[in-house]
Subunit: 364 residues, 2 copies
């Protein structure tokens, strides 16, 4: 199955950019050429990733920019908030950096989302580049231009659609990824099968052991295919007016789990994995897919070492948390449901049916 | 001199909207028809304006939306910050309002900028409508899609380009405007003459007394002509890549005054008025315009009861404050200078020349 090393994102109004995927990209001079010119570049990273890769990226960028600053934020979803965002802005303003300054997001999804949001709002917009170092960020959050911070009352509630200049996904950075985070990233890889590509789901089932063993060629294919699917969806619907919502399969319940337990208790990918199991169950209860599909997806998610059992928050609490989700509109809570293997859509689901699923999984 | 009652803003990608200008618009049902449908509308206003107009707007909107909430913020530039912005977001989230919710900004520039920014980032974007109730907001801040909050280190440093669905500028709301705010609004009206329309400058000189006496027909012409000039500029350069910068005439020094004295000490229009006097002086020192033009502009600004004497902050402090301004780039501080009456452009100005102007006006 061939897949390109470079995935092209095409958006209206000349806003096209490349996702480059491969090994050794961090060290390759070409990765950093042809970006917007500026006097100063700023790498934003976290306490875990900065010691591993910030110096190397800084060295490479000093071949292009006269000055390269590094801003290091605390690590973890619980820090994806206004205070951390403001630390980026404080640095930019205290250094009087102008609106040509280029930001580089070096880290996982949290760093990418916050750096992207800071780039979106600093002086009403400066350029930024994504350098994702987790599997989850490489296959999901660094692609598509969704940036955000969390609010105590909901995940990713404040943000912007803002596209990077380029994404450099160096597979070598996955060498240092903890096992738990690798598995969390696989949740988003698995997601692309049921919503868009039945044969990719089969491929994941066949190659799961190699993925967990970090076989670089197999990981590379998974990242490229995931990005290509996401690029295709985002290219058709950047602002999530319709189709793009399918990328949120598993996210409605997933966000409720994250928010309900407090950000950081479960990894985002873990919450999404469990959310997919319940959303598949809802799809079956709505008469869209057979029970065999639900079992198949749960089996794969369990094999990947991801949770299939939601925390016991109570049905009322789940419903309350989901009602504040961005996909919600007045009336029935809307879920991305699987309509047939490889096809998904948004469906309003009656509260009673949601409660049934929650009870059946021991969540209520 | 005819001017339309409705000014049309045309932006790339079907993002067109209308600025409706006239008397009695708040009460007119047509003002609120044809906006995006939603279950809930939220009026954002401040402690000064809400008691005057919020109930009336709410009554009108209840003819269109099933529920209309009102969020009241403290009044003043010193409250144009993250805390106030977050009060809007807190309301939206605590009420679990969805991303179809329409926000209505009822107030001056501060309310418009903050409500627009909240609309830009809440769930990555909800629709909003501007209902400007100050002269300054009607001729400037409600037109053009610039939204922002201040940061302790600089004015309007965090924000977004985000366009409203419609602008309803009801001239009757100017009846309750304090004299000082009326004069501050005139600063932005005056601005459009030197940068874009020599004959409009003559018209303002001829009609200044009627403007100060709040002659509704004369005010209406001033608002319509100002909006038409701004719409023309913004239509050509929404994201301020070039031409749009001329709208910042007087703003580089103006922002330094506001930031240096602490937001709220001077009104924005007062700071801009004084900034225009100094920027005109710089234009003359750069050899672009004769001394007579500088005197003419200063005379008009004085007649309008606006300050022409900058606060004595010291040259070094002014230079430091201006270097962090959004228009600054590495190197010389850039000013919008008048190149000839009715034409302006961005020019890098040597620090020594800026210091000369500051000293000559007693600012250093």
């Amino acid at each position: 199955m061939p897949a390109p090393d470079t995935v092209h994102i095409q958006l209206p109004g000349d806003r096209n950019y490349e996702i480059r995927i491969g090994t050794g990209l961090l060290n390759e001079a070409a990765s950093w050429q042809g970006l917007p010119k500026a006097a100063v570049a700023v790498i934003v990273s976290n306490e875990t990733v900065a010691p591993l890769y910030a110096d190397r990226l800084r060295d490479r960028l000093l071949g292009v920019y006269a000055r390269v600053d590094v801003v290091v934020l605390p690590d973890g979803e619980q820090h994806k908030n206004w205070d951390s965002l403001n630390r980026i802005c404080d640095h930019l303003l205290s250094q009087a950096l102008d609106r040509k300054t280029v930001l580089f997001a070096l880290g996982g999804g949290v760093i990418g989302d916050m750096t992207g949001f800071a780039a979106a709002i600093y002086m009403r917009g400066v350029p930024f580049v994504q350098v994702p170092t987790t599997l989850l960020a490489q296959v999901d959050s660094s692609v598509g231009g969704k940036t955000a911070i969390n609010h105590p009352l909901g995940k990713n509630m404040l943000g912007a659609f803002y596209q990077p200049e380029r994404v450099i996904a160096d597979l070598d950075t996955l060498d240092t990824l903890p096992d738990r985070e690798l598995r969390a990233g696989l949740a988003e890889v698995i997601k692309y099968g049921p919503i868009a590509d039945a044969s990719f789901l089969c491929w994941i089932e066949d190659n799961l052991d190699a993925l967990l063993a970090r076989d670089k060629a197999v990981l590379g294919y998974a990242v490229r295919r995931s990005c290509a699917i996401k690029a295709d969806v985002v290219g058709q619907d950047e602002k999530e007016q319709g189709l793009r919502a399918i990328l949120n399969f598993g996210h409605t319940i997933g966000h409720a789990i994250e928010s309900g337990l407090g950000y950081g208790a479960w990894l985002h990918g873990e919450a999404v994995a469990c959310g997919m199991v319940l959303a598949a169950d809802l799809s079956q209860r709505m008469g869209l897919v057979p029970r065999a599909f639900v079992d198949r997806l749960r089996t794969l998610i369990e094999r990947a070492g991801l949770p299939v059992q939601p925390p016991k928050l109570g049905a009322e609490r789940y419903l309350q948390l989901m009602r504040v989700d961005k996909k919600a509109e007045a009336g029935a809570i809307r879920f991305v449901l699987i309509e047939s293997l490889g096809r998904a859509g948004l469906h309003g689901v009656p509260d009673a049916l949601i409660a049934e699923t929650l009870v059946a999984h021991g969540a209520a």
